[in-house]
């Protein structure tokens, strides 16, 4: 997916952008509202991540102006405030959702997915491999014309594999992506989710291979 990140703090912008690129997203970065307007005028984005405290103005005013001018792209506000009234205020101004800094990227991704799904569930972002067609936004998988609904963790697991086919993921790495950092996760739990995904894929030409002592890999036969 293609993101526009509007954030004045260069360090944070770099950190967020590199984290998102790791998931295969394209990220354009604007440090000021003026740059952001230029990006919006010239490019098409799936989603805008908007900080609300910027050196050249308030992100909420910017948002209201662009919404009034017909901007239709979903917007998720990044806020440093935790006051509830502030959060509600930005939703009233045309934001689709908000996350509070510091944010969990898995949560941000979940929110992006939820926003896109609410917004007509645009299906242009399907990923294909062999007989498998995966729609990460709608959260389902088609194997030879048959549609399977995926639970969230199955979906995220599959997404990880599809973003890097042929790469080996250790159980620890998978666990870090699937579970929050404060949950105690046994290696068994990972095996359970891999097992479920294997079952969904068993009628296709795509399979998950176990590499003893190393982890798992998605292969196309």
């Amino acid at each position: 997916m293609k993101f526009l990140l509007v954030e004045d703090n260069q360090d944070l912008a770099n950190a967020v952008a590199s984290r998102m690129r790791l998931d295969g997203h394209v990220v354009d970065h604007a440090a000021e509202l003026e740059d952001a307007s230029a990006f919006i005028a010239t490019g098409e984005y799936d989603l805008i991540l908007l900080d609300i405290m910027l050196p050249d103005g308030d992100g909420r005013t910017f948002l209201r102006q662009h919404r009034a001018n017909g901007l239709d792209t979903p917007v998720i506000v990044l806020t440093a405030r935790s006051q509830v009234s502030d959060r509600i205020g930005s939703l009233d101004l045309g934001a689709d959702d908000y996350v509070t800094k510091p944010f969990d990227h898995a949560e941000l991704e979940a929110r992006c997915r939820a926003v896109l799904r609410r917004r007509s569930g645009s299906a242009q972002t399907t990923v294909e491999m062999g007989e498998v067609v995966f729609d990460p936004v709608a959260g389902h998988l088609s194997v030879g014309g048959e549609t399977i609904d995926l639970r969230n963790r199955e979906l995220r697991l599959l997404e990880m594999f599809l973003n890097a086919p042929g790469r080996v993921f250790s159980k620890h790495k998978l666990a870090d992506r699937l579970f929050s950092y404060n949950e105690d996760v046994s290696e068994n739990a990972i095996e359970v989710y891999v097992g479920r995904l294997r079952k969904h894929l068993e009628k296709s030409d795509v399979k998950i291979t176990t590499l003893r002592g190393l982890g798992y890999r998605l292969d196309h036969e």
Partner: protein, 456 residues
């Protein structure tokens, strides 16, 4: 919660006392002035008649054959006739020697030789009389005779007239007093009423309303309203400054935390050695813990403030629960939890939506923390005998021996384990329920799982 001012007397009472006291004094003065004037006028009337009478008597005095003759004219006595049948006494003297009439009646000597008549009030046989003494010099062939006449009249008619005047004057004074007192009451109430109006409009304001007063006020209250407005202006300024300060401080602290967290996540993806990975994980946990605690402390402060100045508005609790479910479902989905709203279709209620939303959010946060994967969390909104919002999970439930202390500040359940939390969530929910006149009940559902009931 606000200090009562030190009360020193009442403006209304003081004003009323001064005005009514003044009115009483004025009424008394009016009474005395009118009465004295009336007495003078009435006395003047009697004196004029006595004078006319005595003059006409003296006019008839003449010297005939060396003796003095006084012919009392009938008119002279008739004019002294009164409705009260006052008695008249007279005495005629020649050069100080009694000639005729009433012997007890002496001629009053005039201190002023030029004045021919002297008025006096005196008693004859126990009766008060008004007396005039007048003299006339008669000059005959060889002699010069001074004739003096003393004429006195009792004062019964005059006393009656004076009584009547006194009665009327008293009535007049009383009427003046009553009218003036009524006017003072009205004036005092009007003046104090203006103050009360201002007080009401100050009291009616919401806690956030610090805008200046625009309504017209009497000129005398101008300075008060001006300084009130300037006070509120300063308060507003310092409030918004401290709000800006908190926002700026949060921004300054949270932005670098967000940078660290994002870098840590990225690095975690790239690092393979388990000891490095564990360090990164605990770093992320620490960041989450600190930001969550800071957020909840701020929320708790805001909730304490709003609960002190509760502003109720009409809301639908079902709608509120559904909004919250939409907002929280991405987080729930990450744990493969599903959030559902059940119960009644409508639950109209008058309360503070931000407070209630925050309370329910904290309950759902808890449920998501302890609910096992692939389970349901229900947010039930029930009208019935008492309005309540029930949040139920399928987790291990509350430890029964600790259930009573869980909503005290910073108290966390024994089974909280590694779950990130500040121990403020249930405190916030209980405070919100308390502010709305309700309570928070924590139970374990008979079929398992924790069940938090927010009674409103």
């Amino acid at each position: 919660m606000s200090d009562s001012p030190t009360i020193s007397g009442s403006l209304r009472n003081r004003l009323a006392t001064i005005l009514i006291g003044g009115a009483a004094l004025l009424a008394l003065l009016l009474f005395l002035a009118v009465r004295n004037y009336a007495v003078q006028v009435a006395q003047q009337g009697q004196d004029d008649i006595l004078m006319a009478s005595v003059t006409s008597m003296l006019d008839t005095a003449a010297i005939r054959d060396g003796s003095v003759e006084v012919d009392l004219p009938y008119a002279a006595l008739a004019m002294l006739d009164t409705p009260a049948d006052d008695r008249v006494f007279y005495a005629i003297y020649r050069d100080g020697k009694f000639l005729s009439g009433h012997e007890d009646l002496a001629v009053a000597a005039s201190s002023d030789a030029e004045r021919r008549e002297v008025f006096s009030t005196q008693a004859i046989r126990g009766t008060t009389v008004r007396q005039v003494s007048a003299r006339r010099i008669l000059i005959g062939a060889s002699q010069r005779v001074e004739v003096q006449i003393a004429l006195a009249q009792t004062q019964d008619a005059l006393a009656e007239t004076l009584d009547e005047i006194r009665r009327n004057t008293t009535l007049l004074g009383l009427a003046f007093f009553v009218l003036a007192a009524a006017l003072s009451f009205w004036a005092t109430s009007f003046a104090v009423g203006q103050l009360n109006k201002l007080t009401t409009s100050v009291t009616r304001r919401g806690p956030q309303d610090l805008s200046p007063f625009k309504k017209p006020v009497p000129q005398e209250m101008g300075p008060l309203v001006r300084s009130l407005n300037s006070l509120m202006g300063r308060l507003d300024h310092s409030l918004s400054q401290s709000e800006d300060f908190i926002a700026e401080a949060a921004h300054r602290v949270r932005t670098p935390l967000a940078t660290v967290r994002s870098h840590a996540e990225t690095t975690l993806q790239r690092v393979d050695r388990e000891e490095n990975r564990e360090a990164l994980r605990s770093m992320i946990r620490a960041i989450d813990e600190s930001s969550r605690a800071a957020g909840q402390l701020l929320d708790h402060a805001m909730i304490t403030f709003r609960a002190d100045h509760l502003e109720r508005e009409k809301i639908d609790l079902v709608e509120l629960a559904q909004d919250l479910a939409v907002r929280l479902s991405p987080i729930a989905e990450m744990k493969d939890l599903s959030l559902s709203v059940c119960g009644d279709e409508n639950a109209p209620y008058a309360g503070d939506p931000i407070l209630i939303q925050n309370a329910v959010r904290n309950l759902v946060d808890n449920a998501m923390k302890y609910g096992p994967a692939d389970s349901d969390i229900e947010i039930g909104v029930h009208t019935g005998s008492r309005l309540c919002i029930v949040v139920r999970d399928k987790g291990p439930g509350y430890p029964l021996d600790e259930i009573g202390q869980l909503h005290t500040r910073f108290k966390r359940g024994r089974n909280a384990g590694d779950a990130v939390g500040s121990g403020l969530g249930l405190t916030i929910a209980a405070d919100v329920a308390g502010a709305h006149g309700g309570s928070l009940e924590l139970t374990n559902h008979p079929e398992g799982g924790a069940c938090a009931i927010l009674l409103l």
